[in-house]
Symmetry: D2
Subunit: 352 residues, 4 copies
């Protein structure tokens, strides 16, 4: 498959390029009778919109207005596919000759050219971060479904530019700059972003996701483990280079007696497992983290080659973000929501 | 889907429980005309066999003899499904009353019970590490296919019990204790394992995978990124709690100028990307790491609950490994090989 | 899966209801470098447009204007998903109280209600024939791909209202009333349609499909036989109640010596197999037929029940076709084209 | 995909060649807690066994003994994959030089060679009817699942050698020669078979399937219609050249008023729809028919070509059936059971 469909029973198929006519998608498999509206989807889209998020953000202006074309009747889902579109508006006419025949370091250009033999070089085409607008729209439908079952997925930034957050306030994070899990971290992160921006450079960070209300038993015991699917979902977002569950890489350095989470009649006494054991949810909160690399489009000169293999130096200006955070945060949340919605439906097959 | 099939065009379907009659699988989609034999598969199986690997290993004895039932004619694959079985031999009659009605901390028991309402409690059933024997057999076929194209996947241990390897000798690792990437690390790791074993405790570690000969352009730009599928494949192996590509979590702390890999007519000057950009291979060596948690079956007393929710203390004896390393190493290599074989076939659809 | 995606490597996902905002779809997996335009798709759409096809057709007026949103750059496909929409225009405000709470005989109403618990009752919603507009658009892309390989799929009517065509002129059929394979049949069919229309009744017929230029070896030997997938594709179009390949049901009455197609160095001497042997194409022309039932919306009174299970009489007026032919003809052709495009891509995996 | 897996949530993956080591498969997705045994599966296998069914049958002797390897614990399914094998016994050493380099008319040889470039020519390899033993075993598990829900699938022969059955006694058919729906037809069919056998020729026929107890709403409204999936399932069995639902091809000749099934508070007054409307079950009995072509292996001389394209005459002796009926009857029943089991699980996703 070409990888533009995500999920088995709760499925999102997306399309659209950065500078094409429009983007959109189809949510298939959403159960009937669920309240879904353009407004609810728009709220999620507004959270990743260009121009949000302060000093780290791009200057491109898009209203990112979603239009629902099907699947909702009298305010409720009907069980039929939910088609939606987000038309591109700010397709500013530009001179692409600087990047048309050059492979930008850290970008998908080279692989795209090798794979397809041609590419829509305007703004990254299908490999642009703009592609994620459809993920967020689809994720909003998944969130609505999960919400009806008491499952809530929240994402927050816990590290930026090497500076870790200390607190884990996921509720407050939703309205905080950088979607920061820690109000104390915001100032230091802002300074770091501004300093790096002034140097023409960019930054990365770490996003943590938490899902509460997840019943025990979601996920399949062998290949389709809940953590495997979450890892696929998060690593499938551009710029993510690492995923860990619960204690993650730290558990590799612990002993079994320290890493195991004791169980009592009142519940688990710790959550090193991140709420997933043997690929299935344990009933604890799901905890997953994603490492986000710095934006590869930097204003400093870089060595690269042209399509003909000749040496070139490239300096990338344009309307780029300094850091994929905060805009990637709602995208990661959307992907986790899609995974959970899918497993909820898969679980129902067992009639339990 | 129930998650016992892996892959799209190069597919492995597996079955079998730890203490059932036998395990096995079906490799579907392997191209015709490829030399495949029981001997070649057996060589891979022998690398993960119980009783190998020195002080960290289980005492259970299984010959793990694979039998090919179909799909190979006169020594060559025919393009039809390759069925294989590995019969269980050492299904030692034991008293399972200690674990039958108790959830072992760190194990899949609780999720399994919540999911299915009943479970084959003998030795973990389908959630046993023994399940991976079928992965290794299927991976051996994938390796043979990749080998015919000049693609080689190697896995080695780069950290054990918190002690990192310094060297990265992947060739030598294949015949070294712990499949260690560093001959110097073996003694320290052996001491660490023996000390922890004496305490009744267990250990984890980190495995690194490298794939050479991978052409540029494998992987799909959006959901089915090469790194996303690798993350799914590795996180889908029991005990893995984290996956990272190239610089991984460290890239989240770097600036763009430091993290980008400069390109020259002679090739890339670094490989922080781990050979994957925008979800597609770049032509560089693929580098991925998996964090392996300590074995949860420890000989020390642990707090847990019974199926009725009553408090219990459990001490797990039996024939268990102290560390999933080294036996997990060929399993992780097999999974990476399956992913790459699948993407090679997917790429062919483009006629390029 | 919810059944709104068709195909494995060449995939069409569709959405949209008869009286919703719009319909559309996503073609994923189309190889790059193929000339595709709105004009080419529009030509196919115009062939199934309401208001075409003479006396058998509906009075609803829709321009059925397709808009491409992605996947085509500078006139060529890029290998990324091709999103398209067709907005609904003639959503005439009507009084649906007559059918809102009543199950129309021969329609999907009852199953829809049983399945989803609610339905978009306006004009059949997702179960309307209008859904097929997205199939034809997707099929147009498949046709363009097949055309680049010399494969041509043509569909024509060979029977209507019980009156069989004698000739098999598939070239001429494309511009003929009813897409008739026989110019001689047109007058008799027209009379039959007018007579039945005057009675408030409806008609069915038989459509034959032929695909030329199909290389030998397409199709998979066991479950995914070429004829199995074609049967699924055609039977998946509303109103189709039977599918047969080559001699079809007549072969059940023949002896082996009469039914086998002799092979000579100059080719086959007959084509009872319809170009498919053992589920794979033989290199001969593919021949498949679909039986189309009469339109169930008739102007005569019928016995039925309400949602509450009470007896009702229903007489259906409205803007309905008298016969699914001719509008179903391009739909069936589109589905066959999608199947063949998918198998062409699947075949490439073998590197042959 | 390579087409050796059938189904979405209730999945059967099969492997094995006619003269290989063994055949088998994996049933994945069967819900837990269901009583399944080797004996129950064996009973279904015995119904298609070589040597059964009187004068129409092959002389090859196989005990077709199934062995369950996994997925059943203490007599109940566990929800994990059910692996099974049937070893080949009667792999009589023969001289295949007559068919090794020749394409048998009416067989898959030519397509197989074109597809894969090589083939296991012994007895048809993967394209042999022997492949269906795995379908019947998998279907037996599906039947057990359906039985637990009150759904019963029965298949019977309603026409053989052009001689139609008059009665439709599906209960009695299960123990009757030819699985005939009509006790009166048996003698005529026996005579027809013997006469044709004496001529060195072969016969076809028609099989009807009926499924009772199917709740309304199974099937998906667009591509994955219940009838589309049934058509795929049945057309995917070797020798089937046509499939029709309810009135089938006859409905193409009826008017809407005659073809529609009136609905009353007491139920439908007819069943021309064959229990399926708009791709979803209506609650009526499901009625489907499959046209089975004559066995292509005939003892009469036939014109064909060699792999080198040279003219040849071939006369096929050996241990072949005269008619695919009756052995194909349990195979078709198995496929229909697999389709229904899959749709039952798919329906559960809706939580209804």
């Amino acid at each position: 498959m070409s990888g533009n469909t995500f999920g088995t029973l709760f499925r999102l198929t997306t399309f659209g390029e950065s500078h094409g006519v429009g983007l959109g998608g189809v949510v298939d498999g959403c159960p009937p009778g669920l309240a879904v509206s353009e407004e609810a989807i728009q709220r999620e889209l507004d959270r990743r919109k260009p121009g949000q998020g302060g000093p780290a953000a791009t200057a491109r202006k898009e209203s990112d207005t979603v239009r629902l074309l099907s699947g909702v009747f009298e305010g409720l889902t009907t069980g039929t596919p939910i088609g939606f579109v987000i038309m591109n508006e700010d397709q500013r006419s530009r001179d692409y000759s600087a990047i048309k025949d050059v492979f930008r370091p850290g970008h998908a250009d080279l692989g795209f050219e090798a794979k397809f033999g041609l590419r829509d070089y305007r703004g990254g085409g299908r490999s642009s971060g703009r592609e994620t607008v459809s993920r967020v729209a689809g994720g909003a439908v998944a969130r609505a479904f999960l919400h009806s079952l008491g499952i809530v997925v929240r994402a927050a930034t816990i590290e930026l530019g090497g500076i870790p957050a200390q607190a884990r306030d996921f509720d407050g994070a939703q309205d905080r700059p950088f979607f920061s899990a820690d109000p104390e971290a915001v100032d230091a992160w802002t300074e770091r972003v501004q300093a790096v921006k002034a140097q023409g450079d960019t930054l990365g960070g770490v996003v943590e996701l938490r899902a509460s209300g997840v019943p025990a038993g979601l996920g399949e015991p062998v290949f389709d483990k809940l953590d495997a699917r979450l890892a696929c979902a998060l690593m499938g977002v551009g710029a993510v280079k690492g995923v860990e569950v619960g204690a993650g890489f730290a558990s590799a350095r612990a002993t079994g007696s320290a890493n195991n989470d004791p169980i009592t009649p009142q519940g688990f006494l710790s959550n090193n497992a991140g709420g997933i054991l043997g690929g299935m949810s344990s009933g604890q909160e799901i905890v997953v983290r994603a490492a986000v690399k710095p934006i590869p489009s930097i204003a400093l000169p870089q060595r690269t080659v042209s399509r003909d293999g000749e040496a070139r130096s490239i300096t990338i200006g344009g309307r780029h973000d300094i850091c994929a955070i905060p805009r990637i945060v709602p995208v990661l949340g959307a992907m986790a929501a899609l995974v959970l919605a899918d497993f909820v439906l898969l679980q129902r097959r067992l009639g339990r």
